[in-house]
Amino acid sequence: MLEYVIRRLIYMLITIFAVASILFVVFRLLPGEATLQVISPAMDDAVQDRMKAAFGLDKPLWQQYFIYLKNLVSLEWGRSFVSAQRVIDILQYRFWNTLLLMASGMCMTLVLGIGFGIIMAWKRNSSIDIGGTIAGLVFQAAPPFVTGLLLLMILSYRLGLFPTGGMYPAGQRPDGVLALLMMPAFWERIVLPTITVGLYYITTPMLIMRDNMLEVLGSDYIELAKAKGLKPSVVMFKHAARNALLGVVTLASIMVGFAIGGQVVVESLFSWPGMGQLMVESAASHDYPVAQGTFLMLAILVIGLNFLTDVWYCYLDPRIKISSTGLA
């Protein structure tokens, strides 16, 4: 187990390094001179050169690459072109906001999706099964900006049950994540974006879980579990669900990547000050250091969550350990 975790950890670092390198290339391939935002062509040539030298832009590309890597590791991610704040400070604040929303959305997706999937398989061909499939397909077909807008329109504007956006009431910015989590106003505001994200992604784990369950329920070890005289609920949850879960966990790590895309839309819609919103803002204002930092941070987030699902998978399926040592 430990060996497996360490190997995964090394893979994770290699992947992050690759993403960072790709980002370096991409941002230098972008059309238009990135430095235009800061170094105006109207300035004197000598001044322009001096400024370029101050940013290290006079050095050859490979040297810039190593400086870039060194800065990444030492968390010197540059300053925003717009606000002159350190990128790492901006990201630190935004990272938690995104993580909170993603975590609650993914929890809702997985818990409800897996739960409904089990029930649908158990009550196969019943109205729950058919209704669940139809509802799932409807949610899947409705883009998050439509679901989100409908939720806002009905629950916020018409019924006034939830605030319309933001993470906390204006002018009450909490200092730190803990203080944020203590605010009732925060929990009021996270409900709608969570539902929006959750509903959009719930279909895949739900239907996969249902299909996996049906497949597992036909297997010999389930028949034996029944022959042992175990209660139907024990057969379902202890014996069938654990095996059916394996496919969903694999899927969860892929889903996390997709969820980042949805995150951009949902954060914009609910004025959620997370990295998705930051990505849109920084791209619109050509704030390259921030955009670069955001991309990298999101990549690290996805890769990190993938790592966690790999470890979870290993815990769920003892067969993995053997094959992982076999590969070494």
């Binding site: 297997s219 010999d220 070890y221 005289g229 175990l230 654990r242 769920l316 053997i322």
Partner: protein, 340 residues
């Protein structure tokens, strides 16, 4: 046999509802299993033997319906028992199963020992450590190292899994163990070892065994009494030696021919031409009629009755009185291959 039977089954039938219609997988099957005996059920694939035991253990798929005049375990009626009571008081504690595919019958994500402990603790109030020491005992009985308890099924070979399954079936000292093809899928050497182990265990325990297999050699070696199934019915039922010395049903005669004899080495085996019947729809005659070289007109239109030939020997054939002649003719290849 003067003892009262441990399991009595009278006129058990199982039907499957399928898109193509109703499949009569088991028809009017009656048999008894006496204490401490091995009752063999022989038959080729699709003859209904697995369906029969699924019906006994209430493990039929949703489209399967069984009904019987009587199913009794030690005088207690099982067919009218509630689902819950059956699960708690009969399954595994009285009737245990060694399933057809031991390879896949252990849950891959739990330790082998824990799966046996689960069976024990589901039916008793034993503490975990008591159940553990019981598993150690059982592993010893089937010849597995006790430290293998904490291994996962994928770390076991086929033979080891089969032993673990046998250990599991013994866990609660059930009165009846149903072994469904316990050696199928194992190589011949492992097969032999498992059979020897079953024979050894038999002498220590009080359980009766229903042994289901298509392997005539295995059944001949292991069983006290044998029922031969074909097309969802029992064709012939007798003491082992009677069945092989004086078979009366044409199907049994054919089976006996197809089974190599060590005394008559070099003799060509005679197979029964044709293939098993479709069990779709209601039967109007004897299911073996189409392949039977001795069939008469009555076999097509009428379902035979089970005739007792004395000494617990029963046969499902109109021509049971002609058995000696049929036995004579059945040994020649021409009898079987000219009939159609």
């Amino acid at each position: 046999m003067s003892q009262s039977p441990r399991l009595e089954v009278r006129n058990l039938s199982v039907r499957y509802q399928t898109r193509g219609g109703e499949v009569h997988a088991v028809n009017q099957v009656s048999f008894d299993v006496f204490p401490n005996e091995v009752f063999g059920i022989a038959g080729e694939s699709g003859c209904g033997k697995s369906t029969l035991i699924r019906a006994l253990m209430r493990l039929l798929p949703e489209n399967g319906v069984s009904d019987a005049d009587l199913i009794q375990y030690e005088g207690q009626s099982l067919d009218r028992m509630s689902e819950k009571k059956f699960r708690e008081q009969v399954l595994w504690s009285k009737i245990a199963l060694v399933p057809q595919s031991a390879m896949n019958s252990l849950n891959p994500v739990y330790r082998v020992g824990d799966q046996i402990i689960e069976a024990i603790r589901n039916h008793t109030s034993q503490e975990k450590h008591e159940a553990r020491s019981r598993v150690e005992e059982l592993f010893d009985v089937v010849g597995l190292e006790s430290d293998l308890m904490d291994s996962y099924p994928h770390e076991f070979s086929g033979g080891m899994r089969q032993r673990a399954m046998i250990a599991m079936s013994l866990a609660l000292d059930p009165g009846l163990i149903i072994m469904d093809e316990p050696t199928t899928g194992l190589d011949v050497l492992v097969q032999e070892r498992i059979l020897r182990r079953i024979r050894e265990i038999r002498s220590h325990i009080a359980s009766s065994i229903i042994l289901i297999t298509h392997d005539i050699a295995v059944i001949a070696e292991m069983s006290d009494r044998i029922a031969v199934m074909y097309g969802g019915r029992i064709m012939e039922q007798a003491q082992s030696e009677d069945l092989f010395d004086t078979p009366c049903h044409p199907y049994t005669l054919g089976l006996k021919n197809a089974f190599p004899s060590i005394q008559k080495l070099g003799q060509e085996l005679v197979s029964i031409p044709g293939s098993p019947p479709s069990l779709l729809g209601k039967q109007t005659g004897c299911p073996f009629e189409a392949r039977c070289p001795f069939s008469i007109d009555q076999c097509v239109t009428e379902i035979p009755k089970i005739e007792s030939l004395g000494k617990n020997h029963e046969v499902f054939c109109f021509r049971n009185t002609d058995a000696p002649q049929m036995r004579e003719q059945a040994t020649s290849m021409s009898t079987w291959h000219s009939s159609n």
